[in-house]
Symmetry: C2
Subunit: 251 residues, 2 copies
């Protein structure tokens, strides 16, 4: 399915990207559907060139499949079960798309390369849906945002990969808010609470949420401007610039 | 350096294990030194068989190199820079140990296999030093606990891997306490604070630490038994059994 020789890539290694989008209080995932018979949905995925850092590969794969080039991506887990092999999936694809893919099976080098066991490095990102225009590639019939509660059934363990990415996103949300660039420069406590509620998929008590979030020390409260009018507008907040994270120092 | 054919392993993939030990308020790392001329320290490392889950491989590698078989291990990051190749390291090893290793270079298949670019999956664990007896293998001249402040210079990016593992350990400490199995069934707030101080390498204010840790909802305070004596003993705590973590559901 690639136009370059498979030999140019690291063998038995793939990258899968989980792109979460936030818009109008809803959390969604960007998922292409292959331009082949059989209704196959997959995460935006690809391989790593021999000369390429894995982080570079993830950015390239995301760019190629979505047209998005400047997203903050983070690796979160390797999916490495021995049972993760592409063989059955590829055979089914070829069976359903003999006109397009039969030459694949006739080329033993490419066929063996792609049907082996793969380990996959999962990357995730969180973007403002309003700021991106997903673009399908020659591989895709469609590429769409799917509500987190209504994901299609994807190939291999791709649905599990989304769940694992979601767990990581929830765990790291407090510290990663600034990297995600999801909020305007200033925002109200209510807007922030709505973002948390979409990602955690649960309501937070309005009398408790501000205290909890302020304790994390990630927010800065701005002084209200004196306007002369009755001062009933809610306080505005902005994100504190973080100190240099450990990962920049050591990686 | 392996007795089995390299072909049995996943190509260009390794696993590196960071084993933190805690004892007497100190944090240490378990590091073998190779039984070869040239003073080479490395993290306990190895490869993944084609038929083997990566988690199984990590447990096997740790067991082979340390004699420890029942440790809670967790993967934390893939080290995947294109510049991570073994070539220079292996050539230097062969140069310094011609008597033992020259046949390695004369076998092109094995030599090419081991000198390629490798990505490495980092796993870390935290153990009670009193509970383990490290054992060296035929590869090791020594295997010892090194204070976190006095680590030897290791090969490749292994020192960076330790720093990255330490960042992850600090981030996850609250939620992973029970898995690490480092504390007796019941313990005082002071003992817990000493553990945190060793891992974060900084003091915590004694009047603030209990409140912070109790807010995490990981501890259960036990009732004092009525002994008739003046009741000056400190409260004892134990760890709450966690609910089923997400990773068990999705992985």
């Amino acid at each position: 399915m690639q136009h370059v020789s498979q030999q140019a890539y690291m063998p038995q290694l793939s990258i899968d990207c989980v792109i979460f989008g936030y818009q109008a209080k809803q959390l969604k995932v960007l998922i292409p559907k292959l331009d082949l018979a059989g209704e196959f949905w997959t995460l935006p995925s690809g391989f790593v060139y021999q000369y390429e850092d894995i982080d570079e590969a993830a950015i390239r794969i995301l760019g190629d499949r979505t047209g998005i080039n400047d997203i903050y991506l983070e690796q979160f887990r390797v999916f490495g079960k021995a049972s993760r092999d592409n063989g059955r999936f590829i055979d089914r694809l070829i069976e359903l798309n003999q006109d397009k893919l039969e030459k694949k099976r006739q080329n033993p080098t490419d066929y063996e390369w792609i049907t082996k066991r793969f380990i996959s490095i999962g990357f995730y990102a969180l973007v403002d849906i309003n700021k991106v225009i997903p673009q399908k590639t020659s591989l895709d019939a469609t590429i769409d945002w799917y509500d987190i509660h209504e994901l299609p059934t994807m190939i291999l363990d791709h649905n599990d990969i989304v769940q694992e990415a979601l767990s990581t996103l929830r765990r790291d949300l407090d510290q990663k808010l600034i990297a995600y660039n999801l909020l305007p420069e200033t925002f109200t406590m209510k807007e922030l609470q709505q973002l948390y509620e979409a990602i955690y998929d649960q309501p937070f008590a309005a009398n408790n949420f501000p205290r909890k979030i302020l304790e994390q020390n990630v927010l800065e409260r701005l002084e209200k401007k004196f306007t002369g009018a009755a001062n009933k507008a809610p306080y505005l907040y902005r994100l504190r610039q973080p100190s240099v994270p450990d990962s920049l120092v050591t990686q």
